[in-house]
Amino acid sequence: MAHLAHYREAHPLPFIITHWVNLICMVLLAFTGFYIHYPFFGGFMGIARGVHIFCAFVILANLVFRVVAAFFIKSAPTGGTREVDYDWKAFAPQKDNRHQLGAWIKYYLFMSKTHPLGGKYGVPQKLAYLAIPFLLIIVAFTGFCIWAPTSAVGPFGAFNHLVGGVVVTRIVHYFMMWVFILFTMLHGYLALIEGLAPAKLMFGRKEHGGLVYDTKAHNIVGEDDLHSQGSAD
């Protein structure tokens, strides 16, 4: 049992929901996006466009909610603990992650035999998650640039003018979708490769025993198989 205990405190219910919304929207957006790029079967264009635009607004609203909620909802700042603090602190620099970028790269490249210690999100993971809001804004912006009702409006028209027309913006939008596809591939791989416990917690709120991490000592201090702890309580 080398991983940390997976407690619900790591991912409070509102963030489970925003994660579900993100997943569903991204899958629908990518599928309908591919369809709008080239309609590989008939009879679906009107629906595909409607779903694409609807999901775009939903995912933007979800993004705003997720960012605002990070300042009001508390979550565990590291894995393996039930202690909670404001969620945004898990996205800010944490003492638990200090000087650990090299350790993570070594771990992923099999140059180190041990799993790095860290906050709830490891260094590369946190950098990737922090990039997501900006990537979403870019992909949504380019989307509005090529959506007829907004393509000539203020900043969208200015962007089209800057890059040389909607022909170019459309390609930027298409590549941005691929950035999300590649992100999702890496994200899914890294979340699942060391076992299903993190996914079960994120999608189904199922807790899982493991090592216990002390947020003050910044290290592992014990073990919790959930059952013994239940009897202790």
Binding site: Y38, G46, Q100, P116, G165, M185, I193, L211
Partner: protein
Amino acid sequence: MTYEKTRLSGFDTMLEKRGVSRRRFLEFCGALAVTLGLSEAMVPSIKQAIADTAIGKASGALTPVIWLELASCTGCTESFAQVDTPDVATVVLELISLNYSETLSAGAGFSLEEAKEETIQNGGYITVIEGALMEGWDGNALRIANEKGTEIVLHAASNTAAIICAGSCAVDGGWQAAVPNPGGATGIEPFLKAELAAGNFTYTGGEGDLPPIINVPSCPANPEHLVAVIVDVLLLGRVPQLNEYNMPSLIFGEYIHDNCPRRGHFENGEFVYQFGSEQEKLGYCLYPMGCKGPQTKSNCPIVRWNRRVSWCVESGAPCAGCAQANPEKAGFNWVDLNTPFLKRFKNLRIGDIVFQPATLAAAVGGIVVIALVAHGFGMKATGRTKGGAPFELERAWDRKHPDQATGAAEAAAEAARVQGLPLPDDEQAGGADNLSTEDDVPTSADEGPASVDDVSTSTDDAPTNENSAENDAPTTETTAENEAPAEGGEE
């Protein structure tokens, strides 16, 4: 009013002579008003302006026009000059004094060049330019009447009242500017702006540094568009409302897709996937065939071509995007932007390598998949697929900088105990403290249930190092005391 009526009745006679009924003429004026973006209320003004000019023609006071043909296929002239029946548009075209046109003028050679020079000297003329300007080989890529094209344009532009760039080539070089463009094809507006910046151009024909430039792209230019712009500039005496590329906004303001007669099929998902198919016969949408209507702004579906008979998409060809032109950026001509014409995306180009964006994206995606699968086998081989590798006992950086460590050394010892791992060798070399801590490890590890108790104590917010200090030798306690203030400061 009586006066006006008389004049108009005289004009009616002129129309009659050309086989144009008054009714058709009024329809034409109405269509012009729509093309120019004027309200129906302007129809009498247009009618009056045309009638006045027609009367003026009799007295010989016509606006002179010189039509410069640079590097072109003469398609724009053909498009402009095609007449099958006496047409109302030709009436308007006869309202200008076409002083110079290589194709249309009756004269040729020296006398024609002289007429052009005379027109330029007198000023107040409109310059229509067809074809791209060639800057290659120091401007020698295009020579007309033993003169460089670049010099001809600079001279004609210097004293003109306005320039109408007819066709995409004159706007930004058009298809002739497409890669590799050995002749250095460029548009009139970018050329004049560059020459102005270089100090080689002085404008004397009116106010400002440059003459008004009206870009009328398309390949060829639509005669309806040209007539509308000429009526606007010549008869109503104004430059039409232009967009950021100096194109008339009302002609090039909406996507072809938005006014396309096949748009309903697009929304229904009824597409042509192959020429010669049943779907093509049914007139379905040509989007999968690479139609560029969704990214090209022009009123083609409304004005149509060939005397309003039909236009590309209506006659079954996907739009090639010929009305896309960018006088501000080299390399954004409609051919570079839209080839291959039968694919949804334009090709990207890095040096001599040409590829589709989707191919690049799929290649990168494929490489990532292969890398992840390979990495997955690595994870499996190293036994990390069931919970990952064991945690490090202490951060590597901390080990090298014990005085600035993130976590307490005791915590590392505790982590080793919990995970049942020996401390690494370099930790043992660290000092007596660590050695004594390590001595505790087997003892605590033996007490299996006790360690769980320890955990529950520690999760009850008891600081770990205190906990271990209790159990540990006095040497460790000293360390814990030393570190305690430091930790307090951290929090």
